[in-house]
């Protein structure tokens, strides 16, 4: 925890560390940052006690949220304000605003943290921004309502999915050209590479499926379907996708089905459906992927799933219409 201590050496916490010694480690636990779309805030939760540490005011309609690779900042897309709020993870304050062009829905960072990729939902663009200067490097035209972004480990390719065009677009980061377009089922929301980078999973919210794409050939190799006894097909809306570190299991948030599917990522068989709050979309792991945090848009809370037992262990309230989550170790 020592690196975390220096990173967040706020005066109060330092004082606590001196006075309380061993307890200080707990005070520097992981923190969860959750965007509340209609509150225009980010709720910060302590990663051990799940108590609210801070509620940070943002610009309008915060949705997409990521942390920088060095954990110093959390970046929040403010859709109705056309910018990104940069939150300092030490002071928990917005320290900077970056212009993104209209309606940024979500974002991703290059592996080194030098570039931000923003999906401009209303303009069918991906805007590439230099994080240090805030200057735009380029804008890449893609399909309508671009949303989820995925970046390869070495940063050579950025994938964006467009909800209305129903495609995954592969962008080459050397030429900033779209090199391939893969038509998937209706309304794709999230793209996520498997940890070994061999496959790209794309969730289709209205289609009710997850497409597994070979990123070298740009062909769909498998489509995963969901059947939940007692839940009508039209309520199954896959959005968030996350993999365990070993790549064995995938978690897929199913929207109005109010469940997270646990999928064997090798056989594509659904092993379990975990009941969570209402309309789960985005998810994020704890630093060692022992816990999965599921953001429930309609119940205004986060369900915490224990990854080894695949059980929901508790849920904690956040703001209204929570959308995205970032976890800072």
């Amino acid at each position: 925890m020592s690196s975390a201590m220096t990173r967040r050496g706020a005066a109060l916490l330092l004082a606590a560390a001196v006075c309380l010694g061993v307890f200080a480690a707990q005070a520097r636990a992981t923190e969860l940052f959750v965007t509340n779309e209609i509150d225009d805030t980010v709720t910060v939760l302590n990663g051990q006690t799940y108590k609210v540490i801070a509620t940070i005011p943002t610009d309008q309609r915060p949705r997409g949220i990521v942390e920088t690779p060095d954990h110093k900042y959390v970046l929040v897309c403010d859709g109705d304000s056309s910018n990104i709020d940069v939150i300092d993870t030490k002071t928990l304050k917005v320290v900077r605003r970056i212009d993104t062009g209209p309606d940024p829905e979500t974002l991703a960072m290059s592996p080194s943290g030098d570039k931000i990729y923003v999906s401009n939902e209303n303009n069918a663009l991906v805007t590439v921004v230099n994080f240090a200067t805030g200057k735009w490097i380029t804008q890449v035209p893609v399909g309508i309502e671009p949303e989820g972004l995925a970046v390869t480990r070495h940063g050579h390719t950025v994938v964006v999915v467009s909800e209305t065009t129903s495609m995954a677009h592969f962008i080459d980061t050397k030429t900033w050209k779209v090199v391939a377009n893969v038509l998937v089922d209706t309304r794709p929301r999230i793209a996520e590479f498997t940890p070994d980078q061999h496959w790209l999973w794309v969730s289709s919210e209205v289609g009710g499926t997850v497409s597994v794409i070979n990123p070298r050939t740009h062909k769909i190799v498998h489509i995963i379907y969901f059947h939940i006894p007692g839940v009508d097909r039209e309520y199954i809306g896959p959005v968030g996708v996350r993999f365990t570190t070993d790549g064995r299991l995938a978690f897929v948030a199913l929207g109005r089905a109010n469940r997270v599917a646990v999928i064997n990522a090798k056989t594509y068989k659904v092993e379990k459906y975990i009941l969570v709050g209402q309309r789960p979309w985005q998810m994020m792991f704890s630093p060692h992927r022992r816990r999965l945090f599921v953001v429930n848009g309609l119940t205004n809370d986060v369900t915490i799933i224990d990854v080894s037992s695949l059980q929901p262990v508790r849920s904690v309230p956040v703001g209204r219409l929570p959308w995205g989550i970032a976890v800072v170790p």
């Binding site: 069918a124 399909g143 309502e145 039209e234 809306g237």
Partner: protein
């Protein structure tokens, strides 16, 4: 239906709407389309006489491109996808002028064989088109009508209906009223045949969902105030008289499809009761005030394109073009016979901004869909309501389900 054609717009937007959307569309569509396969989407419409004086509220307008603008926006959307996979979509708009020879135009349209046609037509004209011998193997996407008869005794194998019909609308309202336990209804019905159909649907919905008709009355008098200087004074005396009944009820369920008096009811009734039906709380496929399930993006996109708000008819046009585009891009279908098969198959799905993909009922080729319950400014709810169950699709709790249909298309 007049109601479907209404738009709630600010005066400035009404003025802006006179600037046609076509030039910007043409400019966008023309940009670099070489090496692509072209698919021409046929948009066939009859211009109907419309007197803007009949709109009760000054905040309402009747833009010339109602419906068409939705189709144009959808064509633009298709082309953003199409350019990535080798398709170029063109919207061919064929307009029969008011008083023009509809039959001749329809025959000419089908002179070179069956086609896939988006029809912006009222019920009578739609049937004329559907029943032409040359249309037997055509596919007609009805983006306009809400008439029950076209889903029942007058259904046709070559015709698919996109907007919810009247029985779906009254069921959508009924489910919500029953959920609220507002189960005693006073029906006030206007003078037109469409009002009679809608009122019959209200009675049917009451029976289906266990509500009671506390009072049932036909209002034949045309209040006629509309755009007159002192209209409200007339209204203020007429509406209490029209709504005075010797019964206890929870809501007034109004059946006034041509907006003769329904909009005058709120705050003018004899008793203090909410108004639902064709005015007041209405059931509809789309409203410019609707923003759930990413509809906000659709509304913003439409406004950027058409410089006005998106109405139910625009949504009908948008759905029709998206349906054709899905068939072409996802299934490679460009001709009517495989198109009909595809639209009736399990593979078919169209995005709706209602939180689910939509498909067609096989028995009457009506698009299954959630129905919005709207006030002019707000979404009140979306039906089907929780707890109204169905073994197949919960949306089949709205309208004519398979066991009760008079239409058995194969």
């Amino acid at each position: 239906m007049l109601r479907a054609a209404r738009t709630f717009a600010l005066l400035t937007l009404v003025l802006l709407a006179s600037v046609s959307a076509s030039p910007s569309y043409a400019a966008r569509a023309a940009a670099g389309r070489t090496g692509l396969k072209t698919f021409r989407i046929i948009f066939f419409r009859q211009k109907y006489h419309f007197n803007p004086e009949t709109l009760p509220s000054l905040l309402e307008s009747h833009p010339a491109n109602l419906g068409l603008a939705g189709a144009e926006e959808a064509t633009y959307e298709l082309n953003t996808a199409g350019k990535f996979i080798g398709w170029d979509f063109k919207l061919d708009v064929i307009t029969v002028p008011d008083g023009g020879n509809f039959l001749a135009a329809a025959q000419k349209l089908l002179a070179h064989g069956p086609r896939i046609i988006i029809a912006d037509l009222k019920a009578n004209d739609l049937l004329t088109l559907s029943d032409l011998p040359a249309a037997k193997h055509a596919v007609i996407l009805d983006m306009r009508t809400i008439d029950d008869s076209l889903r029942q005794q007058d259904c046709r194998a070559n015709t698919f209906h996109l907007l919810p019909n009247q029985a779906m609308l009254t069921d959508a309202l009924a489910q919500y009223l029953v959920l609220k336990r507002w189960t005693h209804w006073f029906i006030i019905q206007g003078p037109t045949p469409q009002d009679a159909v809608y009122a019959a649907d209200i009675r049917r919905s009451a029976k289906r969902y266990g509500a009671h008709i506390a009072a049932d009355k036909v209002y034949n008098y045309n209040p006629g105030s509309r755009r007159s200087d002192t209209g409200y004074q007339q209204i203020q005396t007429q509406m209490p008289l029209a709504t005075e009944v010797d019964a206890d009820y929870d809501v007034i369920f109004v059946a006034d499809e041509t907006d003769l008096f329904g909009d005058y009811l709120p705050y003018n009734t004899f008793a203090a009761r909410p108004i639902v039906g064709t005015q007041g709380l209405v059931a509809t496929a789309w409203s410019p005030a609707y923003q759930e399930y990413a509809a906000l993006q659709m509304q913003q996109r439409f406004d950027l394109f058409a410089h006005r708000r998106m109405t139910e008819l625009d949504y009908g046009g948008w759905l029709a073009v998206r349906i054709v585009g899905n068939a072409v891009m996802r299934a490679g279908i460009t001709t009517p016979v495989p198109m009909r098969k595809y639209l009736r198959s399990k593979d078919f799905l169209v995005q709706s901004y209602k939180g689910q993909g939509l498909n067609f009922r096989r028995w009457d080729q009506q698009l299954r869909q959630p129905v919005l319950l709207m006030t002019p400014l707000m979404t009140v709810s979306i039906s089907p309501q929780h707890g109204f169950l169905h073994p197949g699709y919960t949306t089949d709790t709205l309208g004519f389900d398979k066991p009760e249909t008079k239409c058995h298309l194969q």
